[in-house]
Every structure is written in C-alpha cells, then in structure tokens.
C-alpha cells in the first residue's frame, strides 16, 4: 500500500464519524427541556412572536427535515446563527478560533518541552530520586483545577510581580497584526513586527503555561514508559557493548524509538487542552472560543454550541490523521499492516 492511498483511506474513515457527530450534536440540541425560543424571544413574547421565531429558525419542521437542512447548511458553510446575537456562527468561529488555536498550540509545545525531558530523565534514573521527583511533580500539577491555578498565576505573575500582563492577547493600544493566519505570533512575524511579537508572546505565556500542566503528566509517563521499554532492547545492549557513549545511545537511538508513542499522546493532549482552553480563556479574558462557548451554553444558544462541537471534532480528526501519517512515515510496518 503506498503512502498516498494510506492517507486517503485514513481521511475516508473519518467522514462517517463526522456525520455521526453531526447527528449527535443535532440530537443534543433537540432534547433541550428548557425553552430556548422563549429565552431568546424574551419573557413578554406572545405565542405569535415565538411562533414566528420557530418558523424563522425552521424549528416548526419535522426533525429529519431539520437535520437534513442543518447538514446541508454545514456543508455549504452556513452553520446557523446565534439566537441571541443573530450573528453567523461560522463567522464567529472564524474570529474566535485562531486565539484558541494559538493558546492550545503554545500549551502543547510547553508541555512537550517540559514533559519529554522529564520522561527521559525519569527513565535514565529509573526508580531513583529524579524519577520519583518527576513523577510526584507531574501528578502534583495535573491535580490542580486549571481555572483556579489560572487565577492564582494571574495574580502572582501579573499583579504582584508585574512580570506578565494579566490578560487579553494584546494591550488595547497595540493594534493586532494584519491578519493572515489569525495567530498573532505568526502574523507579527510575517509583518516583521518584532515588538508586537514580543508583546503577544508575553500575553500568551502564563495562560499557555497553566494550560500545559494538564498534559504534563501523561506526556512524562508515556515517554518514561516507552524509554524504559526501548532501553531494554537488544540493540541498546549491543551498542553499549561496542562502546558507544550512553548519552549518544539515549538521544540518537532510544529516544527516537520511544518518541513514536509519545507523539500519539501529544496529539491526544492537543484535543484535551483545546477543551481545557475554554476554562483558561474565561480567566485571562482571552478572546477565543472559551468565552463564546460558556456564554452560549449558559443561555441555551445551541447553534454556537453545535458549531463549536463540530469544529472541535473536525480539528481533532485532522490532528489524528496527521498523527497517523507521521506514524506511517516513521514506521512503515503500520502503513503496510
């Protein structure tokens, strides 16, 4: 099986899952015992006004028809509109998504930079002090409620120490860089605007650090476990026997083997952190999907919630496909298996 076919097959497998997801989110939005129309139309709306609302949003049609319309909308880029703000969901997502993506990516990078070395050290000093310390620290930090830790860090680093801004992506007076990707760090680099780059990096750091703690433990654990397994392989013994320095064995041969499992866990963590970002964003006033999602869910505004769920599903699937491709490239046995 060549690599192109492998990739195509992997993509084809995702489609039924995403259709299933759209059915799931649609069903969730229609089991609402609350009365979203009543909420949106206001407490004094007459039955006629509510009826008009229902007609406008197509809520008077039979469910299968409603679903087909919804599905057709999804495919044609019409993801419905918010009952409240009357804005198009897809436009809102376009505005808010890059902020969440930037935050999550930064957090995953930090978690990897902390977690992989911690796992490597744990494996090298297996069952000795550094191993125990890394293990306790990772469990210690992953146990904090992230939104709570975010408040504490915001106060320490932002207010008391004054080292970092307390929230938002940029100060009010700094105009955001011309949008190419919506990621401020990349956009400012494209514009060669290094001041804005540094300012937005400082804004990004603390939220991303707090978010990264959620992924630290699992990345450390899997790196350690697969390192330990790889260290016991025959080739390591052979390499040691012919006198290759231990450090070179670790970094050149063992780590490369062990990282395959780590990559899976990192990509899984990307999805989890993307969800965790919802909580962190509300604390740091980070204008991403989080605040949008929270407001929508509290006011039973279902089009945005469904939109977010679908977006997350698509992004997560894309990440999984990319992971599988990386896998297939790294390890031909999977591709041909």
């Amino acid at each position: 099986m060549n690599i192109r076919f492998y990739i195509l097959r992997r993509i084809a497998l995702v489609i039924p899952t995403l259709i299933g997801l759209s059915i799931l989110t649609f069903s969730i939005s229609r089991i609402v015992p609350g009365d979203p129309v009543g909420l949106a139309a206001g407490p004094r709306a007459t039955e006629e006004i509510k009826e008009a609302f229902r007609r406008e949003f197509g809520l008077d049609q039979p469910l299968p028809i409603q679903y087909l319309r919804y599905m057709a909308g999804l495919l044609s880029g019409d993801w419905g509109e918010s009952l409240y703000t009357r804005r198009d969901v897809i436009n809102d997502l376009r505005v808010f998504w890059p902020a969440t993506l930037e935050l999550t990516t930064a957090a995953v990078i930090i978690a990897t930079l902390l977690g992989v070395p911690a796992g490597v050290i744990s494996a090298m000093y297996r069952n000795r002090l550094p191993d125990h310390v890394a293990r306790v620290l990772s469990l210690f930090f992953v146990s904090f409620p992230s939104f709570w830790l975010a408040m504490i860090f915001q106060t320490w680093f932002g207010r008391d120490l004054g080292m970092f801004p307390i929230g938002k992506r940029l100060p009010v007076l700094v105009p955001p860089p011309a949008s190419t990707t919506g990621l401020f760090l990349i956009d400012s680099l494209i514009q060669l605007d290094f001041d804005t780059f540094l300012i937005s990096l400082r804004h990004l750091f603390i939220p991303a650090l707090v978010l990264s703690f959620g992924a630290f433990a699992s990345i450390t654990r899997i790196t350690r476990a697969s390192m330990v397994e790889a260290l016991e392989k025959d080739f390591v013994r052979m390499e040691r026997a012919i006198g290759i320095p231990y450090r070179i064995i670790i970094f050149k041969y063992v780590l490369r083997n062990a990282l395959i499992a780590t990559i899976t866990v990192i990509s899984l963590n990307f999805g989890w952190l993307m969800a965790g970002a919802i909580l962190i964003e509300t604390i740091f006033d980070w204008p991403g999907l989080g605040i949008y999602a929270v407001e929508a869910s509290l006011s039973l505004d279902f089009q945005p919630i469904m939109g977010i769920a679908i977006l997350y599903g698509v992004v997560f699937s894309v990440i999984n496909i990319l992971t599988d491709i990386v896998y297939g490239v790294l390890d031909p046995r999977i591709r041909y298996g």
Binding site: P16, T17, L18, G20, L21, L24, T25, I28, S29, I31, V32, P33, G34, R126, H132, R135, V136, L139, F140, V142, S143, F144, P145, S146, F147, W148, L149, M151, I152, T155, R159, A217, A225, V228, G271, W272, M274, A275, G276, I278, L279, T282, A293, V294, S297, L298, L300, F302, I305, M306, I308, A309, Y312, G313, F316, S317
Partner: protein
C-alpha cells in the same frame, strides 16, 4: 523401574484462593509504595471529613444558604477559619460540607460510566462482526470531541444542576471504558480456558461474566481510580462555568466561581475550595498511580 517419589507441588486449593493470594500480594506491593499510601491516607482523611462534616463544620447550616449580613467578606479569623463570602457564609463550613458532595459526584460518574462502558465494550469485543463495528463507530463519535466540550453541551441541554452535570459527564465518559474493555475481551476471548468453557457447553453470559470479565477487572479498576479525580475536576469545571450545582449548594467549583469576582482582594473565598479540589484529585491520582504499578507490572519497571 523404581518407584519415583511423588513430587509434591503446592497447588492453590481453588481458583478463589489463588485469586486471594494475588490480592494479598498486590496489597503488599501497594503498601510498600509510600506515595500511594500517602494518597490513601489523604483519601481516608477526606472520607472521614465527609462523614463527620456536620460535626466538624462550625456552621453546618451555611451550606444550605444561611446568611450572616454582619460578617460579610471577613478574612480568615478565629471565628471563621477560611473567612466568609459575600453574604457572610463560613467558607470552612461550606468546604467541609461540600466534601461528601464531591465524593458522591465522582462515585456516580465513575460507576455510571463504567457500567455503560464495560457493557458496550464487552458486547462489542465478544460478539464481533457488525455489532462490534456499529458499537465502535458510535464510541468513535464520542471520542472525536474532547469530553469537556460534549459534557458542556449535554449539561446545558439537560439544564443547570448537579444531577444533570453528573449525567452529562457520565454520558461522555464511558467511551474510554468501552475501548479498554473491548481490547481486554478481544485478547481474553482467545485464551484456552475460554475455549474450554465453550467446549463444555457454557453459555455466552456465563463465559462473559464468569470467565472473561473477572480476568479483565484489574485494568478496569486502575482506570476507575485514575479517572475518579479527573471526573471530580470536570464536574468542578462545569460548576465553575455555572452549569453545574446552583447556589446555595456548597459545590467547590461553583464556590470558586463565586469567589472569582472578589479575587485577589478577598482571596480566601476562591482559594480554599480550590485547594480542597486539589487535595481530592491529588489523592486519587496518587492511589491510581500506585495501583497501576501493582496491577500492571509492565507500567513501572
């Protein structure tokens, strides 16, 4: 040929006693792991606090929303160890009274998720064929979206409140258990003792419940323990967002949300519930980590 002396091999008297021996050995290994013993001690402490909450809390009626207008936003003092909130309720009493709730929330979520997940996973792995395909596709759908996002959507749809939160979280939590159980059943199904049971005419249910599942218990228990803390965290997150427990319920996440507006000047309102959540989650994580070593020797070498 001379009579060979009979070789005495000490056989376990029954399958049950062999299992007990395993458990005893596991307990010994768990006990020798200081960190998990620390986690267990913390958990026992938490359970005791939950049981004796009405005795420990100086103002147990504050959990039900009794207000004390004269003592609003008091910093920690002799009267109010953790200070008071915006309507003068004693934070210490509310944290203590909320302990049982947090334990219940975690227990309900994990038991529900395990029940659903193990059933679906066992059917899927044992039946195979189209049923397996169908169930796994459904599981995949749930796994495409991060649990927290779906939990938010379902809890919002069901309506605010702690019960709906628990239902919502359970409904997104089972796929992990289903996947795990299925993979265990798939490998156990091929074991000779299952084939033997089948050969002597045991029924499917008997094979699943008497022969397959008992051998799949360890990994499932590990997952239940490690997941417990995260289930509590997720419930607290929904409480923090405002979807979970509603006032005046002393739910820790909702209490943090309450104290958010007063943070950091009146830091005590949000800080202590947060530490309580951390203690609970940390204890479960330590125990889960230790159990993983005991029950799955490969994970810790």
């Amino acid at each position: 040929m001379a009579d060979l002396p009979a070789i005495e091999v000490e056989k376990p008297k029954s399958a049950r006693s062999a299992r007990w021996e395993n458990i005893a050995r596991g307990l010994y290994r768990f006990r020798s792991n200081k960190l998990s013993m620390l986690g267990l001690a913390m958990l026992i402490f938490i359970v005791l606090v939950a049981i004796f909450a009405p005795v420990i809390a100086p103002y147990p009626e504050d959990a039900a929303g009794k207000t004390r207008v004269t003592a609003r936003l008091q910093p920690p003092s002799e009267d109010f160890a953790f200070g008071t909130d915006k309507i003068g309720r004693d934070i210490f009493s509310r944290v203590v009274m909320g302990t049982g709730l947090a334990l219940q929330v975690g227990t309900v979520i994990i038991l529900l998720a395990t029940t659903i997940g193990v059933t679906i996973g066992a059917i899927s792995g044992y039946a195979g064929g189209w049923l397996d395909d169908l169930l796994m596709r459904v599981t995949d759908i749930f796994l495409t979206v991060p649990a927290l996002v779906l939990a938010i959507a379902i809890s919002a749809a069901l309506g605010k409140g702690i019960i709906n939160t628990m239902i919502g979280i359970s409904l997104v939590w089972w796929p992990g258990f289903a996947r795990l159980t299925r993979s265990l059943v798939l490998s156990l199904r091929e074991e000779p003792f299952v084939e033997a049971a089948y050969g002597i005419g045991a029924g499917h249910l008997r094979i699943i419940f008497r022969h397959i599942l008992p051998n799949a218990v360890s990994p499932i228990i590990i997952k239940m323990t490690t997941d417990f803390g995260f289930a509590v965290l997720t419930a607290a997150a929904l409480g923090f967002i405002g979807l979970g427990a509603q006032p005046p319920t002393p739910e820790w996440g909702a209490m943090i949300n309450d104290g958010r507006r007063y943070f950091p000047d009146e830091w005590w309102i949000a800080t202590f519930p947060g530490l309580a959540i951390w203690l609970m989650v940390f204890s479960w994580n330590l125990i889960g980590d230790g159990l993983r070593d005991v029950l799955d020797p490969r994970s810790r070498r």
